[in-house]
């Protein structure tokens, strides 16, 4: 027998008799009168920021301004300008100086300020971590109350990677003092269309 078989055999021999699997009921969890304002308040409390926009002009201009200044920008949102499509092969070294990244979020969660971002929104898995400033565009109709509602809509097996992102990178490892910008993005701006 190999290690796998021995472990599985020991687990099989020692496990208790079968217990039922509960089905969490979304009807039993918290509801928000105004999920949009809850989402914004929560995001604010975890170090992120948000702006409600009626169209994409502001975003388009912002990207143009960054590019004109010579900032290293990656844009993954087709609706706001030319998309940096072919970035999958970029190494960490090539992305090290990435200033700003623009990506699309799919589902936003009111209770915790998290946003589901699949790999296809990123183009390169490193992008949302290695950039200094991260900008995420979401649609206000995609805001759900809780993670239960979000997982009901998200297929986590559809792509090779995906994440719930909640705010900018942070740490409190030195005397419990909160510092924004540990290893990932130092700032998160969410535009809500």
């Amino acid at each position: 027998m190999n290690a796998r078989e021995r472990i599985l055999q020991a687990v099989g021999a020692n496990k208790p008799s079968s217990r039922p699997l509960p089905v969490p009921d979304k009807e039993l969890v918290i509801r928000y009168e105004d999920p949009l304002s809850t989402f914004r308040a929560t995001l604010d409390s975890i170090g992120g920021a948000s702006v409600i926009i009626d169209d994409l002009e502001l975003l388009k201009k912002e990207i143009q301004t960054h590019r004109a200044k010579g900032s290293f920008v990656i844009n993954r949102i087709a609706a706001v300008g030319q998309v940096d499509a072919d970035i999958a092969g970029l190494t960490a070294e090539a992305l090290e100086s990435l200033d700003v990244a623009y990506i699309e979020g799919k589902i936003a969660v009111a209770e915790n300020g998290a946003i589901w971002i699949p790999e296809s929104s990123l183009g390169n898995r490193l992008v949302p971590f290695i950039c200094t400033q991260l900008v995420v565009l979401i649609d206000r109709k995609d805001i759900v109350p809780t993670l239960h509602h979000a997982y009901a809509l998200v297929d986590t097996a559809a792509e090779g990677f995906g994440m719930f992102l909640a705010g900018p990178s942070k740490t409190a490892d030195i005397e419990q003092s909160l510092v924004i910008g540990a290893h990932g993005a130092k700032g998160l701006m969410v535009y809500i269309l």
């Binding site: 472990i7 021999a13 960490a92 898995r125 409190a172 490892d173 419990q176 003092s177």
Partner: protein
């Protein structure tokens, strides 16, 4: 020199009274943040029930879920390894390192690799490894172990970190600003991430349904490593399995709220497939867990999701520090997990508790921690792992308490001694008296008083 017991190490810890108070208050502050987050959800107790029941169900079908996870993960292109113990776990990682001729390794927080002594094993084999969680990097530079599973450097003050960084990262001497020190660590570790060839991470949840794993961090260090390096190794205990992706809704809602009071961790990364041309390995480790599964009284300890809430609430942990527990996982949960790994070496830990029950009350998966601490004491006594002094004391107590006449006589003698010969008990030989005043001797026992007054 043998490892000091929890009581011996704790005695040393509390000699610095000011620091002990600071440690106590800092952790209580985290506990209060947890309370606020928990009370913000009317369904909190319902969530704990669901989490507990999902874990019960999973443990009762664990072999099947492990096989389902393996099947899906392999289909996703992940390589699965099985390790029966710490040595096998370390050997598998070393094998992958040698196979690729890897020199530059980054590791995000994984209590399992701490449990297995991975760093020490690799150092001895001449392999360097860089811990990238800020707290873990701080303790690594100081050649210390993490003192808390979520807050690895909680035993240190900013001055300590400043001194360590001045020595190793050439930061300004005397600059204690956490912002400045964190920025210095960010720059230092950026270089390590960019250059890394191998990233080692832990696993918060492994999903049987999808064959994917979820890793949660606030700093983003697990992702920086795993996405930058060519090879990613994720290490998990067999108990990390959950059946369905939708169960993450339950566990992620509980984890960060219980740990730090945040509504969720910043990065909740779902790794499903390696990128083309990259490698992803998952090592599934037993190291005593299947044995614990067979101990009916202690099996529930395997439900733990490593939030650390029981540490922050524990009056003994807060006042004795994580290093006093001399194990990778300290605190109340460590005290019920570690005797299973090595009963003799960890026989002191179930006694490092007041059995107040606060740990069980904050546990997000409803482990009956304080009950298990009490049950471990009985197992340890039966197996002969209780110190002679404690064993003798308890035998004397049992003898006295089961013989009312002798008990009453002993009471009279005790009151006489306290009143007339106090030096017999108020001396250095009486361990009880070392940290406590002896009680005032009453004129009579409660029993005598009761008999007298009932007649009136």
């Amino acid at each position: 020199m043998s490892t000091p017991t929890h009581a011996e190490a704790a005695e040393r810890f509390i000699r610095d009274e000011e620091r002990t108070h600071w440690h106590d208050e800092t952790l209580w502050f985290v506990r209060k943040k947890r309370d606020k987050a928990a009370h913000g959800l009317p369904e909190w107790e319902q969530l704990r029930d669901w989490a507990s029941q999902i874990k019960d169900h999973t443990l009762s079908n664990l072999d099947e879920y492990l096989m389902a996870f393996e099947r899906q993960a392999i289909a996703n292109g992940i390589r699965i390894h099985w390790a029966e113990d710490a040595a096998a776990h370390n050997g598998i990682i070393h094998g992958i390192i040698k196979e690729h001729g890897i020199n530059r390794i980054v590791k995000s927080k994984s209590m399992l690799t701490e449990e297995c002594g991975l760093n020490e094993y690799l150092y001895a084999a001449g392999v360097d490894i860089v811990d990238t969680d800020l707290g873990e990097r701080i303790v690594q530079l100081r050649h210390e172990a993490p003192s808390h599973i979520v807050l690895p450097a909680i035993h240190l003050k900013r001055q300590d970190v400043s001194d360590t960084f001045h020595t190793h990262l050439q930061t300004e001497k005397g600059n204690h600003d956490p912002q400045y020190l964190t920025e210095a660590a960010r720059l230092h570790l950026r270089g390590k991430f960019i250059a890394s060839e191998l990233a080692i991470t832990g696993v918060n949840f492994a999903i049987a349904e999808t064959g994917g794993i979820v890793v949660c961090t606030n700093e983003g260090n697990a992702d920086m490593g795993a996405h930058a390096a060519k090879v990613h190794i994720a290490c998990m205990g067999i108990e990390k399995i959950i059946p369905l992706a939708e169960h993450l809704g339950v566990f992620l809602r509980l984890l960060a709220r219980s740990a730090t009071g945040q509504p969720v961790t910043t990065y909740n990364s779902h790794f499903l497939k390696p990128l083309p041309g990259r490698e992803m390995h998952v090592i599934i480790v037993d190291n005593g867990r299947s044995r614990q599964l067979g101990r009916a009284a202690f099996r529930d300890s395997l439900k733990c999701i490593r939030c650390g809430a029981c540490f922050n609430t524990c009056p003994v942990y807060r006042r004795s520090g994580g290093h006093s527990y001399h194990t990778a996982v300290a605190g109340p949960i460590g005290s019920i997990l570690n005797p299973n790994i090595d009963m003799r070496a960890n026989a002191d830990l179930p006694f490092a508790s007041t059995l107040c029950g606060s740990c069980s009350n904050v546990c997000p998966v409803k482990i009956d921690i304080h009950d298990q601490l009490w049950k471990w004491r009985q197992v340890l006594a039966e197996e002969g792992h209780v110190a002679l002094s404690k064993r003798t004391g308890l035998k004397v107590a049992a003898f006295l308490l089961s013989r009312p006449r002798i008990y009453r006589l002993a009471g009279r003698v005790g009151r006489f001694v306290l009143r007339h010969l106090p030096w017999l008990v108020k001396n250095r030989l009486n361990a009880w008296h070392l940290h406590r005043e002896m009680p005032e001797a009453p004129a009579e026992s409660f029993r005598d008083w009761y008999i007298k007054n009932r007649k009136k």
